[in-house]
């Protein structure tokens, strides 16, 4: 049952050292404010699951919080590579987390299977791909009707799912609109779910019947954090901060500039700074 909590309290209660966590949001609604709170609270030994690690995991990786990474595309979208992730993989700085790498199709299916309560996902994939050789969690099953060999990967069942969404109502039901990504799946796949939202409204009475709504009884905490997806965007609220993605390439290029930026903008800041950051990006 969802409770409406401050982000600090929600992270404090729901995310624990050693957890397997998935902060999801496919290019859209990336839960950056929740990640920053998790960094401030110094969680460690995390297994970080995310299709596209993006800036959000580049920061957590650079801060040494990751014990293991599970991902399918590790780029800085529209810019290039992720420099902190490269540094950890190529040079072991600040540590050398275990890597479990998949394709998007595999991870999307694995989230789907997690939401569906299955132990594994079955799909047609990885044909001729070398990831099979370096990832022991890519196996196969044989269709008992056609004899076709299909790929199988373990379902993703995180300890905690963290997403950002447009709005919640007072009961804690959550609405996700636009590019919905795997937002529904990760929440349903997880043991615990934390959702930051742009706003909390009275009720959802005027919604179209077929929208992506997560009922309050699938969520543990709802935290209002306006701007909480910055520098990604929230459809209907504010645009993507493309400049911030470019700037990240510069900030993250160097360990010292990275650490200095994290100190000034994350460790010594709070969730309230996100509202300011999207100020000029808000929809007209």
């Amino acid at each position: 049952m969802a409770r409406i909590l401050t982000l600090k309290d929600a992270v404090g209660e729901l995310i624990r050292d050693g957890d397997t966590v998935a902060f999801e949001g496919f290019t859209h609604l990336i839960p950056m404010a929740a990640a920053h709170e998790t960094i401030r609270q110094r969680r460690k030994d995390l297994t970080l699951i995310r299709m596209t690690p993006d800036i959000i995991y580049d920061q957590m990786i650079g801060m040494g919080m990751a014990r293991k990474l599970i991902f399918s595309f590790a780029g800085n979208p529209g810019v290039g590579l992720l420099r902190r992730l490269r540094d950890t993989v190529e040079n072991g700085w600040p540590n050398r987390p275990e890597i479990e790498e998949h394709s998007h199709a595999a991870m999307a299916n694995a989230y789907e299977a997690g939401a569906a309560g299955l132990p594994c996902a079955v799909f047609r994939g990885y044909l001729g791909a070398d990831l099979r050789k370096v990832n022991a969690n890519i196996r196969s099953v044989t269709c008992p009707f056609s004899g076709e060999e299909l790929a199988a990967v373990p379902a993703i069942r995180p300890d905690v799912a963290v997403i950002h969404a447009q709005k919640a109502n007072r009961r804690g039901d959550v609405l996700v609109e636009g590019i919905v990504g795997v937002q529904k799946e990760v929440v349903l796949a997880a043991k615990r779910a934390l959702v930051t939202v742009e706003e909390v409204v009275g009720d959802f009475d005027d919604l179209h019947p077929n929208l992506c709504v997560l009922p309050h009884w699938t969520i543990d905490a709802v935290c209002p954090v306006p701007g909480g997806a910055h520098p990604s965007y929230a459809y209907g609220y504010y645009k993507r901060d493309n400049a911030a993605y470019l700037e990240w390439d510069r900030i993250s290029a160097d360990r010292d500039s990275f650490l200095a930026w994290m100190k000034a903008n994350v460790l010594e800041a709070g969730p309230e700074v996100f509202a300011e950051r999207v100020g000029t990006l808000r929809n007209g």
């Binding site: 496919f26 290019t27 859209h28 299709m51 596209t52 991902f71 399918s72 595309f73 590790a74 780029g75 979208p77 529209g78 810019v79 290039g80 590579l81 992720l82 992730l85 490269r86 993989v89 190529e90 790498e101 394709s103 998007h104 199709a105 999307a108 299916n109 989230y111 789907e112 799909f123 047609r124 994939g125 990885y126 044909l127 001729g128 791909a129 070398d130 990831l131 370096v134 076709e148 060999e149 636009g178 590019i179 919905v180 990504g181 795997v182 529904k184 799946e185 992506c212 965007y233 459809y235 645009k239 993507r240 493309n242 400049a243 993605y245 470019l246």
Partner: protein, 260 residues
């Protein structure tokens, strides 16, 4: 009208797309080519981005594969699991459009690592949607600038499977789709040989010599029996592409162009 090799590459790629194509615009792929096709000879082409946006018609090129405009102009936006299950794996896509960090002459692609997987020289972004785009779309188009570091004899990692070692390799793996059927570089248009499946130069862009192609390619280049000259970009094609880039720059405040 004068034009750059980049412009020629994008326009030659755009021309290969048809009005009734359903095109999956994957990681690193030139959505410029897809959108030029849509804005010129293929107004009804269906463009799909892996973020779940079906039938998009962006005014400007997206910076990520999940920009807001893709959703705003789409016929509908579905979840990412649905995108990969129903639309890609379901066999609904005619053309998958991929880029590459490393490419071999059989259309096998590496975007994972340079060097050894466990101790890479450069850790690249990885496959994203590409492994299953390469196996599920009816055909794969590849576009990239030529360089000896990019067009290599042997890729370091099979991120996505093209024609393997050539010939019937796809069929032997159980693949029923066509695999790479087109490579458009900044210098030439290549098609796989019907038997060996090795990329073969079919046309050279205006002003490009065979040696220029050879010098920027890491494998011994094969030329078709009759190599043609790629038709020069028309004024409409060039204006469409340039207007698209100008609108994109204005919208993104002069930031770097679409890459993902």
């Amino acid at each position: 009208m004068d034009f750059t090799p980049d412009e020629m590459m994008t326009i030659a790629a755009a021309r290969a797309l048809k009005n009734d194509d359903v095109c999956f615009v994957g990681i690193g792929a030139p959505s410029a080519a897809c959108n030029v096709a849509r804005l010129t000879h293929a107004p009804d082409i269906t463009l799909i981005y892996e973020s779940g946006t079906l039938g998009t018609a962006p005014e400007v090129l997206p910076l990520s594969i999940g920009d807001g405009e893709l959703c705003e102009t789409a016929l509908t936006t579905v979840s990412v699991p649905e995108m990969f299950r129903y639309w890609l794996q379901g066999g609904r896509i005619s053309i998958g459009f991929l880029g590459a960090a490393q490419l071999d002459r059989f259309g096998n692609i590496n975007t994972t690592v340079i060097g050894d997987y466990d101790k890479p020289k450069v850790r690249l972004p990885g496959g994203g949607g590409a492994p299953e785009i390469a196996s599920s779309c009816r055909e794969i188009f590849i576009t990239m600038k030529q360089s000896v570091r990019g067009l290599v004899r042997q890729i370091d990692f099979f991120t996505s499977f093209g024609h393997g070692a050539g010939g019937e390799a796809r069929r032997r793996l159980g693949l029923t789709t066509g695999g790479p059927t087109l490579l458009v570089t900044d210098l030439a248009v290549w098609r796989p040989d019907p038997e060996s499946k090795e990329f073969t130069v079919r046309s050279l862009h205006p002003g490009v010599s065979r040696d220029m192609v050879r010098d920027s390619c890491g494998w011994p280049v094969r030329f078709a029996d009759a190599v043609e000259e790629t038709p020069t970009p028309t004024p409409l094609e060039l204006e469409t592409l340039r207007d698209l880039h100008a609108r994109t720059r204005a919208a993104h405040n002069g930031q770097r162009r679409e890459a993902k």
